[in-house]
Amino acid sequence: MTIRILIVDAKAERSRELDRALAEAGFEVVTIVDEQDDLYATMARTQPDAVIVDAALPGRDTLEHLGQLGKRYPKPMIMLAEEETPELTQQAARAGVSAYVVDSVMPALVRSMVNVAIASFESHRALKGELSRTQETLTQRRTIDRAKSLIMETRGIGEEAAYQYLRKTAMNRRMTLHELARELLAATGRQSS
């Protein structure tokens, strides 16, 4: 039987590559969606056997809810068969791949599908030099720090005053500190990270 897979990923190029790789391995990708799409409607319409989702997407929690709703919805891979070693799940977590699978899919097929996804995500990350979620946070923090230093320098003010300036400007312009910091650095021709 062919395993029907739904891909949830905000990165179009990577999803297309994964689609191709899965097709070569004998799987069928039913559709690719962004998590901003209505996952409830998509899942009801396409009824996939498995979902592969970028682990960095908050939309995973929606899939968890669907998995609780009944047998026909895929369950998180971490819940699958006891005999499954945790290594694959760990590897997947490190690569940023999350999978949801219905009970009836054979473990060997699950392994194969997840391995394809891990390889695809890893090669894409290596190519694009992408950051993990934790690295993103550190980058954000550095950007905000640089913008703060810039304000202190150009206005000759202290750290507290610089923070208050950033806070007030962000509030007036309805931006987050990170967005504002990026803009300030770009405007002065400095690197934001």
Partner: protein, 404 residues
């Protein structure tokens, strides 16, 4: 709170390096404060905070051992221990990180309809739920689609507080509404896009909707349950058994951070600043600050939260049992599971007492709330191990008292 001795004659932690998982939310403040204000370092710990994007990935990280401990929703240790959430893994909690902090927000359109059918106004939370019941009935008569309400995770306080509020107003959440899970950062945009009519979420996601004019806050979690525990520190039972001194050092550091947060309004502001400047929370600083203000005497409807006062950090077994009873009420907990054994295993007031005692804090003597959850309509006094503890009202929206 400065009286807390930072360096006591404590057993040195077995390991210095500890990795903690967190989600970008206002109430992760204790973890961020403990790191940035040096409370972890005072206890001899080098902590790395890992920002996760979903409760599911935080759960995976803890169950797979990629995280040593994590900020978790109050029900997650129980759900993990019972094998309902992810890989069956005994997870325990000896520390509640905060009480309250969530609120129910609806779209301006729904708010207008509620006002139309609320002859006594919408100031009283129970009246809000009753007004919603009238709107639901009118929609059913008109053949309109059910209203869509969201919460944040299957094993969340948000889900069960929302259901409790709905049911108190006479609504059957399963029959009358379309209930969904939506990640907090998407709540506001989905409300704006008309894909949701309301939600129950923590800050800053209620204030953000209000600040953008796209939502109206009806009531907060304290209005539904005056003592609702929100986030806890979760660790794998096996990890706590293997590194008891490290676990205790974590508990001491976080207790000190929680006490610091409830000490002065200035500390709350400083914490908001840490969250925004540290890159933990990508939301306008003012919205974060407002959501983190210290609750005042005056009633509020904005998702206020307590990190330490009124024995907030004590893991009352009766609190988790109440959530479990709600799961049973809605058919989300199989009757064949041994709930009491799991509760004894994953709610650990004994470990709390050890850590709090080292900081010379007075601890509740009983593992369940005296008189029952919801029995106190106003301030009350609880005898503790080192003197009386000032407690606050813990009433439920419908006046029920939970003594099971």
């Amino acid at each position: 709170m400065n009286a807390i001795p930072a360096d006591g004659p404590f057993t040195a932690p077995e390991r210095r390096q500890v990795t903690l998982g967190m989600l970008p939310l206002n109430d992760v403040a204790p973890l961020v404060v403990a790191l940035e204000e040096g409370f972890f370092a005072e206890q001899g710990l080098e902590v790395t905070l890992v920002v996760e994007s979903s409760w599911a990935s935080l759960r995976d990280g803890l169950q797979l051992g990629l995280l040593d401990a994590a900020q978790m929703l109050a029900l997650m240790p129980l759900a993990s221990t019972l094998g309902l959430d992810g890989r069956p893994t005994p997870v325990l909690s000896a520390l509640t990180l905060n009480l309250g902090g969530n609120a129910i927000t609806v779209s301006p359109e729904l708010h207008a309809r509620l006002l139309d059918v609320a002859p006594h106004g919408l100031d009283v939370p129970l009246e809000q739920a009753r007004a919603l019941a009238r709107v639901v009935a009118a929609r059913q008569r008109a053949g309109e689609a059910p209203l869509r309400f969201a919460n944040v995770y299957p094993f969340s306080s948000h889900r069960y507080l929302l259901r409790y509020w709905l049911a108190a107003g006479g609504i059957d959440p399963d029959r009358d509404l379309d209930l969904r899970v939506v990640p907090p950062p998407q709540m506001v945009s989905q409300l704006e896009a008309g894909r949701l009519d309301g939600y129950c979420v923590g800050e800053p996601w209620n204030r953000l909707a209000v600040s953008r004019g796209s939502g109206v806050v009806l009531c907060d979690s304290f209005a539904i349950w005056g003592a609702s525990p929100e986030k806890v520190l979760g660790v794998r039972e096996a990890w706590a058994d293997r590194y008891p001194a490290t676990h205790r050092a974590l508990l001491r550091a976080l207790l000190a951070a929680c006490a610091w947060l409830d000490d002065t309004p200035a500390h709350r502001e400083r914490a908001a600043r840490r969250l925004c400047m540290g890159g933990y929370l990508d939301v306008s600083p003012l919205v974060v600050e407002e959501g983190l203000r210290l609750p005042t005497q005056t009633a509020s409807s904005s998702g206020m939260t307590l990190f330490h006062r009124h024995a907030a950090n004590f893991p009352w077994r009766s609190q988790t049992r109440w959530y479990a009873a709600q799961m049973q009420r809605w058919g989300h907990l199989d009757a064949s599971l041994d709930l009491e054994a799991a509760l004894a295993r994953c709610v650990r007031p004994d470990l709390y007492r050890q850590a709090a005692d080292e900081l010379e804090l007075s601890c509740p003597l009983s593992d369940v709330k005296p008189g029952g959850e919801g029995a106190h309509a106003g301030p009350w006094t609880l005898p503790g191990s080192r003197g009386d503890i000032a407690m606050a009202a813990d009433r439920f929206i419908d006046g029920e008292v939970f003594t099971a």
